[in-house]
Symmetry: T
């Protein structure tokens, strides 16, 4: 059975391509998702993608992952900086999770340097644009494989 | 007419029983709610229970309590630490409210020690697991009785 | 074609009139909205009004404004103090936005003095009750006119 | 053998009834103690009550509890905010302890929000006046029963 | 008798037009004052305008307003951030005051986000260039009218 | 009946004369007390003096003042900086209190600049050595006289 | 030759009597100055009184004191909290200085608790209204006498 | 010509395998370097690896990279948290750099959450053990390719 | 005449042996005191040992040391972190003092890293269990010998 | 035409020579100004010198420099630490400015280490007494020459 | 086989005797080392001494200790306050380590009170000059003996 | 004998000319050193120049200066912000030292505003590019001359 990944994207990421291209690149949201699915296929992974502007839906999605996924890849976007609800959900479901940010959050406003989510995930991939999701798929596979041994 | 209590539970509390049992105990969410209803009945209270992972639904529920309840018992879970929207709702409806936390939030991560809700409620019951809700029912009854005198 | 304004109101503002009248005044929510529409008409503006207790709906509304409005007037209410999601949405849509607060947030609790939204809007109008929305309409018109030159 | 509770009250609590009735209520100290004893009797608990204005006597009393009590209920009053000696005593005796405050300390001066004792007790009951002690008796009984299983 | 407004402008505002036009616009100081007077006339207000680089003269002007004005409109400029003398003067004269800033102080250096004056005025209008004064005239009229009822 | 003053001195003040004479002067403790009594007599005041190294005894003394004194003069010495128990006692007894420090605490270590007691007393006299007690007697007389009118 | 005192009063103190009487009392400025002069005469002191809303004039006055006065009594009012210029002037003239505040600054806004002047004066008299100036005259006499020995 | 990568490892990383295996894994340093070289070969990259316990040698190595490498992969280890010299070197050489940490630094001591290097690199890969270096190779290739377009 | 040492132990140290053995070791309080006396005898020192849970008694004991001891060895236990009364007593008696802590306070809770006493003692010996007292005896002898030369 | 320099000195610098000679040296104010003029002459510079204790006059002088000077040399003295009015004036006139301090402000009180002016000047010369002004003349000449190229 | 100790001394300690004798004493570096060796011999310990001004060499020396020593005694000197590289090395080698400081770092500049090394060593000996090394030898012997049991 | 100056330059300064020319100018490192030597010759000074990326070598160089130089000119570059080892070396050698920075560190990142070295040098020259070294030579000569008087 293939490793299954729940890939969750937070508020405003649906605007990718039109939003601050200096930080987020010019690739459109759909194009990024298409690439994610393609790479997943190449790696033999099954991936489900969700984007929402609603914190509650993100929490629901993390909880739902318990019933299906082996690992979570999450870009909490703005929620990174204050959503202890997302953090608690990640802790509660006890799945390995990987935090991705498209832009280098450490080279922007001070508040973006603080993530309430980082202490409860396996690791972070930050600053590589949409490539970050692809690397995260590879990392997730490795993390799941290792923990299954 | 019996005193009516709106009991509101925040994000991830639906996972009770499976989530971090060292902090939250092993009782399942449904079992806890059953106990709450039973104790309410013993005390001659009417209780309505809501759980949501969505801050907006919690705010809506607090607002709705104006039209029905005499008091609110709330465990805002992760929202405790940042949701000024929940705080403002509690202030706006002008019902006595009691804040409950299952685990002793002061013996965990530093951020859990700060509640934005505490200054606008009547009091807190913290650290006694599901017993906290039962004690809160008793306290709510007393608070409503006193304010009706 | 008239200038079009999306006017967005955050959590608990629907309780206007009954909520802490010392801070927010005694005018009811509907009355305020009626006044806004009347003044918009006088100024030759088209205005759409949304109120929500759900952060996600506010983010959605800001994103939707891209397809219709020339400017945004927003009273983020409690979200002012923590919702980087609202902030990011305002940045992403690249429309001029004006932040309004009914009460003088600088004369209340310390936490109300900090707005995560202020750095990404054009300006703020604070402390004048519902008059603030009317002044904001006038300012929005001016801002749109200027940027169209 | 009945569960035995050592109930310890800190500085100035002897003035109850005459001291700032808006915060502490109008019940006199002796009346509160009488109620505590009555409720203890109803619950089948044995309770010893001590009040002192001397930190050293409070520390001594906590240490003495080792030889007699199954649990401690403590309202450290002003000592809450700086007495690491009280904290260390509570840790040293390894009895379950419950922290009670009569007023909602989170709705008063900033310094009252910080308790050096909270991280080493089982839980807190805050803001319910003398009812807090009665709820604490019930909680203590439950805590002792649970730990004896 | 028309409502009378004392409009006070702080240090360096006399350089308007030549000073950092990105923040303060290209309109000259005299042009702005002319517009203020014209709008005052339209609104049936009487307005006196003072600009000074001297904190002491600003304090004097606020004190003098007691004897003449119904309200104060003040742009304290750099004094905003440290002049408790200006703050105390505003409190002492017990006239409604409105704080105006030409640029969005929240989108500039950190220190500009803190105003020692804001807690003692009615409200703020920030970021709309010279339009801010015109909106403030309208707001002042409303505030005076309301308080006279 | 003469105005009655309870004059309370905190830890280590009994060493006056031998202790750090640069800060505290060379007058011995007994000499200072003698001067206090003499000035009290001149002013027609009755004064009782207590010194203790025990916080609990200071709290007891403040409580006892309720039954005898019209005002309290207190030099809490080191307790100034952390004893919320002393602060609470002063608030609880509702007598006017005056805080005295022999040395200028603002010209010494940083921690001496913060007094937890200052917000609950009438005023402070700081830095004038034993003269401070004598000025405080005069001030206490005036404060009692004024409040009796 | 009598001891000569330069008594300097900062911004807004000229409004005494009309300004916030809860904090500053109802006595008018002139009445306070008359009392000061009378008490000075009783004590055999020569006193010159200056009040200014201008920091620069206060600095000038402190500098001028070098040529005439034996000691300075200063109520820097709002300048207390930020005027390092006043502080440096006090240090530069090397005269003993006494800081007076009419209200208990420690029982008001947080910013009033910090004085940049306190570390360079002999002592403070705080919270006793106009009596503070009279006590300061007595203290100044003593300080000058002592330093002349 | 193949893309050339300078891979630099900071203090104590030579102890890999024996050092705190819970954080850093059980793979030996040489084994990790072997894997890096193998993956580089697979990706058609040329890689040079340096480890040093000396900050100065790390700075030298970064400077040398100017003359040879297309990109830098750096795990500054403990230097991450204070070496502005390493940061300045990375800025000075104007090569794209990628920061790697083996353990999830956000789940350990507080000081490990702050990196002085992060603001001047392209991105970070954190928490995936030696896999992090392999992912970084892939990312570096992509970054170099993109910037060459 | 032998060098005389006053060895003072703060709150809860009497529980040694039963209290948190991971931090404080398993040796009983009496056993530790016996070892101290034995080593003192070996070194030709006279030692008096006091333990108290009362801050006031510790202050008294430090003051009494003036009349007998050549040096003080003090383990202030919890008082380390807030007792400026103990600090002032140590300064006042002008005897060389050595601060001892049984556990490594820097490897425990953050608050234990701050000692208000450290700046006024000669030195600290921290983390070596009861051996710390023995080393302190040797150090005290040396310090006294040196200062007598 | 010679390069023209406006040299501005802040509060209390007129007391040079008599004021704290350990920090400021023993040279009198007039002597320093004489040296400045002489060096200016040697360098072929025209210099105008102003000293004022009034912040407003300093701001005026900076503004006036626009009409005459090529560069500003300023020792803001105490204003360094809080006068955003001086800072804004320096920014507004867009002349190169050099900040001079006679004493090493980093080796004195903590507050002297923070300059609100430093971020808007070209550079600082600190700690060399009156020589600092002479070096600043040389630097100013160089800065003006460079910017004219 | 004798217990083997690696004694490591940080930057500038080679200047002992000539450097700030008030803090560090007048004994020369060589003399101190001679005493260390003599006491080691008396205690039956083997000791190797290293001093370096290079952080990298100190890290190397700590790593080398793995192959030879039973314990480390380290005076990291200035590195104490920032060298996480030294800290990580101490953790990595898993040898018991003792931190020594010659002067009482808590009685000097504020920055000297913070040690990044303290949390990972067994204990500290601070303020006793060169005697500290001798006491540390004794402590090291005890620590090694205890851990070998 | 000519005054001898040891001029020490910290990490990355060897890249001058190619590194961030907006901050550091376009002059090459060798050119700057040539100018330094030329100006030294003009002033009759002997100068030795060292640049190193290794903190340890900088500390060694400062120590070596004792045996040759009359003064030190140091640009610690990145070490400015954390190297207490450099600071201690400067204090230990007791030579007058002058701190130079090429760019205006106060107009860049916040961390560059804090120098751990500034409190122990004579003064700073900041922001004038390579001219700063030349001015420092002049200042050093003056400082040495003055201290030799």
């Amino acid at each position: 059975m293939p490793t299954r990944i729940s890939l969750i994207q937070g508020p405003n990421l649906n605007l990718l391509g039109s939003r601050e291209p200096d930080f987020y690149g010019r690739e459109a949201f759909d194009e990024v998702n298409r690439k994610i699915k393609q790479r997943a296929q190449e790696l033999g992974l099954e991936v489900r993608i969700l984007q929402s502007n609603h914190e509650g839906e993100i929490v629901d999605a993390i909880q739902d992952a318990r019933n299906w996924a082996d690992a979570i890849i999450i870009n909490p976007a703005a929620l990174t900086h204050y959503s202890y609800a997302v953090r608690d959900a990640l802790t509660a479901v006890r799945l390995p999770a990987i935090e991705v940010h498209l832009s280098n959050v450490h080279a922007r406003e001070e508040f973006r340097r603080h993530s309430v989510v980082s202490p409860v995930v396996v690791g972070q991939i930050v600053g590589f644009g949409s490539l970050g999701y692809l690397l995260a798929l590879e990392a997730a596979q490795k993390v799941v494989d290792t923990s299954h041994k």
